[in-house]
């Protein structure tokens, strides 16, 4: 165990994380230079084709150091979106140290800092690595200065390298060996393994990625997930190189995988602790959070014929996204679809993009909503996250919305604007403390509904990317809620309805009417857009009709050309949804989500 090192590479985007990882893989001979590209690329094609996962986000690199000893360096990749901070934190929790990669030309950037904060939270050993020293615009002196002033780290601890040219790689590996502490743990203790990821393989089922802290696990053992006491029989354990490598057992300090007949990734919770059924550990490893979807939206196919394709794609997508849930739903305006739950708006964005790009679907999303709680006059308590299920206002005794406690870390200079932003979002009970020179930790209680409406984008904007943001749901609080509807030429478009705080209703309605006016193309007749609460119109906008489009001449030679032009336009129209007689593009539905100040 003393020859194991568990580490991760963290960096601002495009500072060379993948290239460095590749170099480490090549240098340690896990794959030789010649067939490196081929191997990796082949694998990715196969992955896609056969739906199996070969490339893991963890890889074990055997390394013979200068001191003559053999080490096993376990590199755990942190997922792309630092915004999925929980997943990132569980990956970091599996490490003892990180390489903080900084571009020699660009220097310390927003994500460099945000990632550093995260690493510090986990008390990880931090090795600053200056990459891309080969660039003519590299300014190492300046970067060293930034390491000291912006990051508060000792600049003398830095390593220089060029992942592209392959220089400094050995220094990096030596630093990992020398400076990152070996894992601590006792192989004779009861098994305690931290799950940091799970992937679906169509041949083997769910592959659990884990870091063993205490004890050991082997094929034949009965393991138990401590969050829900589910038990499974282990089929195989091993570690990752370019493919999975079977082992007799995984022991404390190791990073690897467990295959145990777990049917779906949804059965595996990131951050959960795995222990042995017949010799369980006393306490689970710290930091486990049950991630629950907090934002809900309905997805519809633009063409109702594509419904089955959408259903199939959602099923395929869910295989590798445990936090995504969905069930059947329907809308008067948009037909048959699915009601889906997401971890946040970013998650929603990702799902939407994957569905469109990978599965080639044309879809429309309804306006997303959080889950509200209503107590009715007869005492019944209901949860509503779908505006179409909004209860009869006459029957509502009280309405409540979920509140979160947001924790933000940011450089002091942005404090004022961030506080202003939080107050705008109905934030209360703020708390502030200085965690370091010029660094502030700020917390606020805010309604989740305000936060999901692009609070995060605005937060990033006012902190110029240097702020980090995380939140926890705390409780439900009473709120004056109303149902805001949108009507297009007198017809209610249920997919655009929103449950809002009464004080926000008019503003939301105005934004919706405004955005729709920009997004809906002019048509042969005037289009009246209205926002309403109950029967009362609280906002409106009008799109004037266009009145001339015809070309003057249409003789024998013009007909083919004109037909082709119309066919093209017709295809464009097909991507729009007809609500009554009005053609509404998908972008219009999306635009209604964007908040003020865009």
């Amino acid at each position: 165990m003393k020859n194991i090192r568990n580490f991760s590479i963290i960096a601002h985007i495009d500072h060379g994380k993948s290239t460095l990882a590749d170099r480490l893989i090549q240098f340690t001979g896990v794959c030789n230079e010649r067939n490196f590209q081929d191997q990796l690329l082949d694998n990715m094609d196969i992955e896609r084709e056969r739906g199996i996962t070969i490339k893991s986000n963890a890889i074990s690199l055997p390394y013979r150091a200068k001191d003559g000893n053999e080490y096993m360096l376990n590199l755990i990749d942190t997922p792309g979106h630092v915004d999925f901070s929980y997943e990132v934190s569980r990956s970091l929790a599996s490490c003892e140290g990180v390489l903080l990669l900084i571009d020699a030309a660009q220097g310390v950037q927003a994500q460099t800092l945000a990632n550093l904060y995260l690493a510090m939270e986990h008390n990880l050993e931090i090795i600053p690595v200056i990459n891309k020293i080969d660039l003519p615009s590299a300014d190492i002196e300046r970067v060293l200065e930034e390491i000291e002033s912006e990051l508060g780290l000792d600049p003398d601890t830095h390593i220089k390298c060029s992942a592209k040219e392959g220089t400094g790689i050995e220094e990096v590996l030596e630093a990992v060996v020398q400076r990152i502490p070996p894992p601590r743990g006792d192989i004779s203790n009861p098994l305690a393994a931290l799950i940091f990821d799970a992937k679906y393989d169509s041949f083997r089922g769910t592959i659990i990625h884990c870091r063993v802290f205490e004890g050991s696990v082997k094929a034949g053992d009965i393991i138990r997930f401590m969050s829900n006491n589910a038990t499974y029989k282990v089929e195989e354990v091993g570690y990752f190189q370019l493919t999975r490598v079977k082992l007799d057992k995984l022991s404390s300090g190791d990073v690897g995988y467990i295959i145990a007949g777990v049917k779906t990734v949804a059965d595996v919770r990131t951050g959960d602790t795995i222990t042995l059924q017949n010799k369980p550990c006393q306490q689970s490893l710290p930091g486990f959070k049950e991630v629950k979807p907090v934002v809900f939206a309905s997805i519809y196919p633009i063409a109702s014929d594509d419904y089955q394709d959408l259903a199939d794609s959602l099923e395929k997508y869910k295989l590798n996204d445990a936090s995504f849930i969905y069930e059947k739903d329907s809308s008067a305006a948009l037909g048959q679809g699915f009601r889906c739950g997401f971890l946040g708006l970013l998650h929603l964005d990702i799902v939407q993009e994957r569905l469109e790009r990978e599965f080639g679907l044309s879809i429309i999303l309804s306006v997303p909503s959080v889950r509200y709680r209503f107590t009715l006059e007869d005492g019944k308590v209901i949860y509503v996250d779908n505006p179409t299920h909004y209860p009869d206002p006459a029957e509502i005794d009280k309405g409540e919305e979920p509140y979160i406690r947001a924790t933000m870390m940011l450089p002091e200079r942005y404090l004022g604007s961030v506080m202003k932003l939080c107050m705008e979002k109905r934030g209360v009970n703020s708390n502030m403390n200085y965690t370091g020179p010029g660094r502030v930790e700020l917390s606020y209680e805010m309604p989740l509904a305000e936060v999901i409406f692009d609070f995060y984008d605005r937060f990033k904007s006012v902190t110029q990317g240097y702020g980090s943001f995380d939140y926890d749901i705390i409780d439900y609080r009473e709120s004056n809620l109303v149902l805001m509807d949108i009507l297009v030429n007198g017809e209610k478009v249920d997919a655009l309805s929103q449950i809002v705080h009464r004080e926000r209703a008019r503003a939301r309605a105005l934004i919706a009417c405004d955005r729709l006016k920009d997004e809906i193309p002019r048509q042969m007749f005037k289009i009246a857009i209205q926002g309403a609460i109950g029967g009362e119109i609280i906002a409106r906008s009008t799109i004037s009709a266009f009145r001339k489009d015809v070309t003057a001449k249409c003789y024998g030679g013009d007909i083919t050309r004109k037909r082709k032009l119309l066919e093209k336009q017709k295809a464009g129209k097909k991507r729009m949804k007809m609500i009554g007689s009005v053609s509404i593009p998908q972008s219009a539905f999306l635009a209604v989500l964007k908040s003020d100040n865009d």
């Binding site: 009145r547 015809v550 007909i559 066919e567």
Partner: protein, 375 residues
């Protein structure tokens, strides 16, 4: 297959000078005119037994009035030889006011031309210059008078509006002047600028503005109102006739989705579910036919959906609209059933009317013919 008579079109791709807005194919040398005429005769042979009959013949171009009467006769005789040209067929030739003489017009009548379409465009000399026309307003008026003197009882003029420098008021004057000659037919076109033309380039260079949607609509509506008030039938977006009899029988083929054969470089044809068109090059045209092959550039076979779309967009350009029963019978498109909702809305907004199983655009609807076809 169609039992209706088709239209025969002959494209005469020669001009003395190119008008600055024109995007039709032509060359500015008449050297090859003679060979061209002989070659068109040979092209006719290719299509001898395809079309059942023709009841309209149209010389377009280019400048058909550059043909000598002898050449016109050659072509008409050949057409009679290879095809079944119905008696009392409408035989039109386009005329440039710069090519006018009484003798020419009389001889045209003698060889069988019974309709003239005169490219007047405007009665304003500065506008004619701007457009790059090679005649003056005086010549235009003379050509009209000469045509009447030669005995032509079926005359049409072309006029252009929304040209830079024109407004509805000055256009009104143009229309009044045109009406004073009581033409049987009038074509009033909004100026459209193909990006390859010198006029387009000038507009861009000099920063000249195209009319706004409102201005264009204004021109369109006032033209219709002035001419209908004067007793003309506004039967197609840009075309007006004194009575139904004087509608352009030949052009009607295009809008009624009926068959036509086009001879000469760049000419288009339509028969059954096929369209084809000739290469837009005189030399290649002569060479191809010279070596015994058709000068066809491309052809396409149309599906029912494509034919239905054509029927619809062509129908929405004409006051008579489209026959819903035919759409259903010929192409399987039951418009009323699948588009009931939107048709209802269009009727409410007075853009179309339903009459005798036909869907017809109103005047406002005609201005939106393209969008109507996209429902």
């Amino acid at each position: 297959m169609h039992t209706k008579s088709a239209g025969l079109y002959i494209h005469v791709p020669f001009c003395l000078s190119k008008c600055r807005y024109c995007s039709f194919y032509s060359i500015t040398s008449v050297e090859l005119m003679d060979e061209f005429v002989k070659t068109v005769v040979r092209e006719m042979a290719f299509y001898k037994d395809i079309f059942p009959s023709f009841d309209s013949l149209y010389f377009g171009g280019g400048t058909p009035s550059l043909l000598t009467t002898g050449q016109v006769k050659t072509l008409l005789d050949a057409a009679q030889k290879y095809f079944d040209i119905r008696p009392r067929a409408e035989i039109t030739t386009e005329v440039n006011p710069g090519d006018v003489s009484l003798e020419y017009f009389q001889s045209l009548r003698r060889v069988g031309v019974n309709r003239l379409n005169i490219g007047v465009q405007s009665f304003d000399d500065s506008l004619l210059k701007f457009l790059g026309r090679r005649h003056t307003a005086k010549q235009a008026i003379e050509s009209i008078e000469t045509a009447r003197n030669a005995g032509f009882k079926n005359l049409g003029f072309d006029l252009i509006y929304a040209v830079h420098g024109q407004n509805v008021k000055t256009w009104r004057q143009t229309l009044k002047k045109a009406l004073s000659f009581s033409p049987e037919h009038l074509s009033c076109y909004q100026l459209s600028l193909d990006c390859k033309t010198p006029l387009y380039k000038q507009y861009k260079q000099d920063g000249l503005e195209l009319p706004s949607e409102k201005e264009a609509l204004d021109f369109f509506i006032s033209t219709s109102m002035i001419l209908t008030e004067a007793g003309y039938i506004h039967y197609e977006v840009s075309n007006f006739a004194r009575t139904r009899k004087f509608e352009s029988r030949h052009n009607r083929k295009y809008w009624n989705h009926e068959p036509y054969l086009g001879l000469g470089p760049a000419a288009h044809s339509f028969f059954g579910n096929r369209r084809w068109w000739n290469k837009a090059n005189v030399k290649t045209y002569l060479k191809d036919i010279g070596s015994g092959k058709k000068p066809v550039a491309r052809s396409e076979q149309l599906s029912n959906d494509e034919l239905a779309l054509e029927s619809l967009f062509l129908g929405m350009r004409t006051a008579d609209g489209v026959n819903l029963e035919s759409l259903k019978k010929l192409y399987g498109l039951d418009l009323l059933a699948v588009k009931k909702r939107i048709i209802g809305t269009l009727i409410d907004h007075q853009l179309v009317i339903l009459k005798n199983n036909r869907l017809c655009p109103t005047l406002e609807g005609m201005a939106l013919a393209d969008s109507l076809a996209l429902i």
